[in-house]
Amino acid sequence: MFKLIFKSALASLLRRKLRTALVITMIAMSLWGLLLMQGIYDGMVQQMIGNAVRSDSSQLSIFAKGFRAQPDVKLQLQKQQEIKNFLAHHPNVKSHISRILSRGLIATARYNRNALIYGIDPGAEITHASLNRYVVEGAFDFGDKRRGALLGYKLAKKLKISPGDKVVLSAQSMDQQIASVALRVKGVLRTNNLSIDESGVFMHKQRAKAMLGLENAHQIAVMVHDYSRVATLQTQLRTKFPGVKSYTWEQLYPALQQSRELMELFNSISYAIVFCTAAIGIFGVVLVSVLERLREFGVLRAIGTRFGVIAAMIFAESFLIGVAGFAAGSLLGGATLEYFAAFGLDLRSFSDALGEFGIDAVTYAMIKPEYFTTSFVAVFAATFLSVLIPLRILRKSKPVEVINE
């Protein structure tokens, strides 16, 4: 029976080849567009998140309680070594690093700007989140005497300095005095994390400690194996170390999280558009197909075909169109996404404008299985719903009347 239904559906579709091909093309093209937009936008947001995570927050950041609200230099992490030991033995922790954080002033002979000072261990940063990959000028190095500095590219541009130039960094130390240190610019970073690019100054952690009179770090940044279990780690930290507070990247960068949610909403709207396109296209084809074959269906019923079998034939027609459109659109979309995932969408000619929004100039597309499963569900639902009205029309028709028309 299934073979008969399938054969009948296929034969009916082939009877109007051009019309069928047009609808399949329509579904395929909308699906292609949807997959492309989704993959590119997701890739864009993911890169923005990746930049924030790699350059600043990691997946989880631990601070002394109150530091986030009032980033006072005195609010160092207590029990830092115990926390590090705990993290070192935690099965879900991939790596962790500690940083000194402070606000201060950076000055050249002619200009000065506010600065976000990061005291970091360069070797640890490389293995932890590959911070060195953001270097666009100079080198990821603080020199033998640890007197080097790395600057965000916008800050370097505003100060009109480049590697080799000298800067003076000033900040409030533990004893409430203004401490200063002269550093030589070793490299410039472009992270597309706006705050770092505009005011980030990285110096060696030991140099920062000495300058500010600190014993411990302000932040421990953590990368995990399984992000879905990060809440468990947070609970354990809360119980074990009541003096600290941990934040996920979503909590530290709520705007990025909102961007992601906005993108999900946008994707849902896109799915709805594809659904409507498929539904309207298939509805048109099936309706015309049913109306022009009322007599034929009347004959089928007269010679003993139950209405359910005829409904299955019509549904199969609709389903075949949907599946063909889905297959073509998925192949096309999948191949295009593969290309952009490998080579990226190069928008370097708009890099300045994109940089203002923290977006990388080359966007690498994402490919997620759910793009295809959700599209399939949307197309399948469209094929099902689009035949309901034609079936109702058919149900109302009487074989004896349509045969004799």
């Binding site: 029976m1 004959v299 010679i303 003993g304 209405f307 009487k398």
Partner: protein, 230 residues
Amino acid sequence: MSKFITLSNVSKIFNPGTPLEVDALQDIDLVLDRGEFVVLSGPSGSGKTTLLNLMGGLDRASGGTIRIDGKEITALHEDALCDERRDNIGFIFQAYNLIPVFSAKENIEYVMKLQGRDQPSCDRRVTEVAKKLGIEKLLHKLPSNLSGGQQQRVAVARAVASKPKLILADEPTANLDSVSAGELMDMMEKLNREENITIIFSSHDPMVIGKAKRSVVLKDGKVIKNETVS
């Protein structure tokens, strides 16, 4: 011979209760035996097609009962009627009504497929019927590539292939030339004789009417003559 079809007080009113009300059939009583070769004749509008439709369960009687092989088809619901047509009744239409996207063979085996018969069994039966009707060489062709006479033979083959107990044919020769019509009637007569299928057909054509073994004449929705032809 046994009572195969029994119509008791069968009536059919179209558009009841409206100014367009028509009494298409009135109190029809008719008994036909198994294996009969019956012609329904009469002027246009006399109720021949309506009577065939009621006997085939394509339409519902306004009153009375119709029994076929002991089963009261007037009491069956839609799906059961459909199954009855699939398993026991074959139809031959004036306009052939073959499925245009199916080949002649696929048209012939369609009802057998609905019955759930396997492909080898369908193939054997198609070959057997096609041989009897002289259409072995046409089996792969689409209906659009067949002449009217050839299409009607395929339609007859479709009606016969599933071995129904009853075949209803509404003016099967109306679209055929006299030679094709004569050949078709000879084939139907042969099938009636060899496969013991009860065949009821309607016609205006005296040549075709002359082939029947029983003649039922209708006028204004009533049976005015019912006689066996020697």
